[in-house]
Symmetry: D2
Subunit: 314 residues, 4 copies
Amino acid sequence: MNTIGNKFVFTSFGESHGRAIGGVLDGVDAGVRIDLALIRQALDVRSGRTSTVGVSARAQNERDEVEWLSGVLPDPEHEGQLISEGTPIAFIIRNTDARPQDYEWLRHHLRSAHADYTYEHKYGIRDVRGGGRASARETVSRVVAGSIAQMLLRARGVQIRARVIQIGDETDSRQWETLLADVQRQGDSVGGIVECTITGLPIGLGEPVFDKLQSHLAYAMMSINGCKGFEYGTGFDMTHRGSELYHDVPCPASGGIEGGLSNGLPLVFRCAFKPAASIAREGHPRGRHDACIALRAVGVVEAMSALVIRNFWG
Amino acid sequence: MNTIGNKFVFTSFGESHGRAIGGVLDGVDAGVRIDLALIRQALDVRSGRTSTVGVSARAQNERDEVEWLSGVLPDPEHEGQLISEGTPIAFIIRNTDARPQDYEWLRHHLRSAHADYTYEHKYGIRDVRGGGRASARETVSRVVAGSIAQMLLRARGVQIRARVIQIGDETDSRQWETLLADVQRQGDSVGGIVECTITGLPIGLGEPVFDKLQSHLAYAMMSINGCKGFEYGTGFDMTHRGSELYHDVPCPASGGIEGGLSNGLPLVFRCAFKPAASIAREGHPRGRHDACIALRAVGVVEAMSALVIRNFWG
Amino acid sequence: MNTIGNKFVFTSFGESHGRAIGGVLDGVDAGVRIDLALIRQALDVRSGRTSTVGVSARAQNERDEVEWLSGVLPDPEHEGQLISEGTPIAFIIRNTDARPQDYEWLRHHLRSAHADYTYEHKYGIRDVRGGGRASARETVSRVVAGSIAQMLLRARGVQIRARVIQIGDETDSRQWETLLADVQRQGDSVGGIVECTITGLPIGLGEPVFDKLQSHLAYAMMSINGCKGFEYGTGFDMTHRGSELYHDVPCPASGGIEGGLSNGLPLVFRCAFKPAASIAREGHPRGRHDACIALRAVGVVEAMSALVIRNFWG
Amino acid sequence: MNTIGNKFVFTSFGESHGRAIGGVLDGVDAGVRIDLALIRQALDVRSGRTSTVGVSARAQNERDEVEWLSGVLPDPEHEGQLISEGTPIAFIIRNTDARPQDYEWLRHHLRSAHADYTYEHKYGIRDVRGGGRASARETVSRVVAGSIAQMLLRARGVQIRARVIQIGDETDSRQWETLLADVQRQGDSVGGIVECTITGLPIGLGEPVFDKLQSHLAYAMMSINGCKGFEYGTGFDMTHRGSELYHDVPCPASGGIEGGLSNGLPLVFRCAFKPAASIAREGHPRGRHDACIALRAVGVVEAMSALVIRNFWG
């Protein structure tokens, strides 16, 4: 339920306004250097603090700080760095907004809390802490775990790079700043499309017939909040006929996967993100990264890609 | 690899031109009546023998006949019907085209066989029998298993119905017959989009945060040969703003899933199928169902949906 | 439920008096030669046709013949041999005693069939075909799959050898023939202990903390019908003190496993088999292998060991 | 690797002398009251602070204190109690002996650390913090998670009770105090046998043919440090013949499981624990619970039983 992977296994926990969110990452070899700067950078992209797509970053008061609970040792050779022990890496990021005195309030106001329709129906208890597991904050843990997976993959020559390619109807990135300013001013939100390119994969990654590479990528992407679609290669583009597409082997229109296995070409897929619901519902203006959640999803798409690829490539 | 599900578990086996293809379905309760006519009908749709979309069906010399190996008993009350025993249901469909004398030929011509680029690279052996596991024939097993899942779901009031909604660029179904005739005449192929609607689901099916309902559906659909994209709700349509979409709870634009869980509205998703490669490559004309594999994929989409839903709804 | 392993995956199906029993083995590399003689031999040991422990084998009218459904090709270089394709290997062994006309009888006598207490309670349907999945006949499939695993392990220098070391209270094998004759004459049954020795394992096989090597071996052995106990190293022998046991590293008293991982010494474990229930209940005399099911379990213990080891050593 | 269960899923993390050990428990329904006193008591038994077997408890300076990270809320109705949210319950127990300044030492003395033979071979890095994951301290997390499982099972009328029934060769509990004092005086260690009885189970828990109840119990018990054997029912006792055992249905000699499924009788199994290695090796005297690790294993056996039963009984 809250675990993904079977060889490289990530378990996520924590509610958005609880004490902490965190994760456990099992399957990291011993002796791997953990690049804390890379994790720092990925977290800043996710939080909207750093922008990678030419859209102004939002100000934010506090940064997510990772606290390591297990599985890592101080690197004896590099001051301030960590090295993996081969045991499960557990970490948390404290939710600094959560205050103990809030709990007093809970005793008397349990019924008036915000609630998610389906969660409440399923669990019979509303997660009173403000969205709970369904919140986008849960993705912080994914970014930490995915960054570690990316470190392992880089050592093998794999590069994973995601970017926004469309905001609303607009594919020209020079228009995005204006578009987002407009959306933001109206307290509205807009959807977007993220494209991810993975290079350096060996040929043959994936397993027929159910554990195809695209199956696991789609599974992982659709688990990201707000993701409503996944496509690779020609995807939903129906303008081509077969005769145009298959002149070469491996096939450039393949998106990097044939028969469920990587074919050595760059793997390219796209994810559709819907306009955020919370803005429209709550009506209060937010930063540009909230006006289009695809902007913040970029790092999560990379993280989930890395977890999937690393799990296949044990 | 060749198994899907963890509570309702389907294992698929068999090469397209080997002796037989088949499957094992574990998790079917004892005492369930197996509706052989429903399975017959689903197999005819898959093979292109029966058309469900207003496109002429192709002639075909032989039907797929299911041979039951285990897990079912003759129904003592209904002549010619079967009843499940609660043990794994194993079945095969023989490949009637496979002939023993072909094996003689193999000893001397192993190298000249057709081969799939990625498979050959991964396995180091070409599946000499003509496409092997990567062939669309493997979906016969899925249809049989999925039909049993559908029987179980119907008893709970769930209806799963897929249909083609677009062929090539054309969404007007009255134009499809002409379009396909044209494509077929040119020995070409064209893509298509299948939409699947599931009604009667309870609220709350699915599991946060990785085992979301849409994650498992996407996983299953992307495992179908030729499927290049999956979307639900607003999907890749980027024309809307958040303010238009979220007036009601549950949300009609949701596609039937909110927060990873079914919300009681009809679940609607779409799958993109690419133009078939084999036609363009081999150049010989085939029937209309081969000119657009989406037509034959309809039953497979329903079957995989049923396996996913039944696995969630143990 | 009927599947074991996650990388080397075996699925078992078939009822003891149904049409066939069989299995699907997923994870066998392409190009492996299948030694049919080894499978033949293992099946003969299991059926009691061949004796490996100095106890007279029983006569038996028919042999179990394996029918290969998928995953194997005729070896182009060796007449009458098979070679794996890298796809799931499916096989069946027909139950030659099963006769179609028996089904007529079922319609009228469903209620009078033999039934297993717990199965009937769980499934609500009695497996009218004589024991169904709970029957020892199900182990035929395990022996076939395990034999293939053994072939793969032998190529890596691993030898798995099980033998009976105790029958009833008797550990002196020279007394067994007489003991069994006596038990058999009385229409009774007696328990036995099987010891299995695995040599040639690399150091470090197994995974902390739950997927220890002994955990998976115990899991697999306890799934064999009639197995009531598993121990390795000093096991239930409580005569030693710590000071006697740990002079050397690796430790000879370890049974070949330390900290859940193989330590390079021969791995030695023992399984306790109870006296068979069916004989005592039904009262009719059978052969000596039925008087002590441990004799027939030898090959099943080897087969299950091979499946476990191969799954760990992907 | 560090995860057990598929519906009621427990993930364990933390090294014995790292910052903390902990776990994540997924699958706990929302609204369950967490009995902190029960967890307190189970931890005291595990640490040897509380004795349940008539053997003097050892003094110990500090208690294990559980810190809850996620998945629980303050119970609005009961001061100082917790209630589950339905999300993953994450918790840690800090290792109070671990001191940051130890890390300085590590930089210069990495090579001289204690190391476990197989771990070092497998991971290539010695867990410098004193035993790491292989340490018995890891079982603290199991006890916390297992206690929660026990709470859930008690609500369904299931009682799980383990006790030591043999220490060394001695089965008379009145002799244990003297025996242990003697062993302890010699700086030696001795093995022991723990028997666990589970009452209140429904009939039919378990799954044929691999996921038998005894298979999962054996798997879980063999994962406990020092456990060398598992048996149920007649187990390794070979004194009986079949004719003595099977007069009644369900069978009293069955140990509560027939055909892999619970039969409604009390489920009784036994685990053999070896003499602790560390004492004999290191030679320094310790408390009586260290002289016989079976004494401390009692709570771990109960905890692992509860995890297994709860996972089957979703």
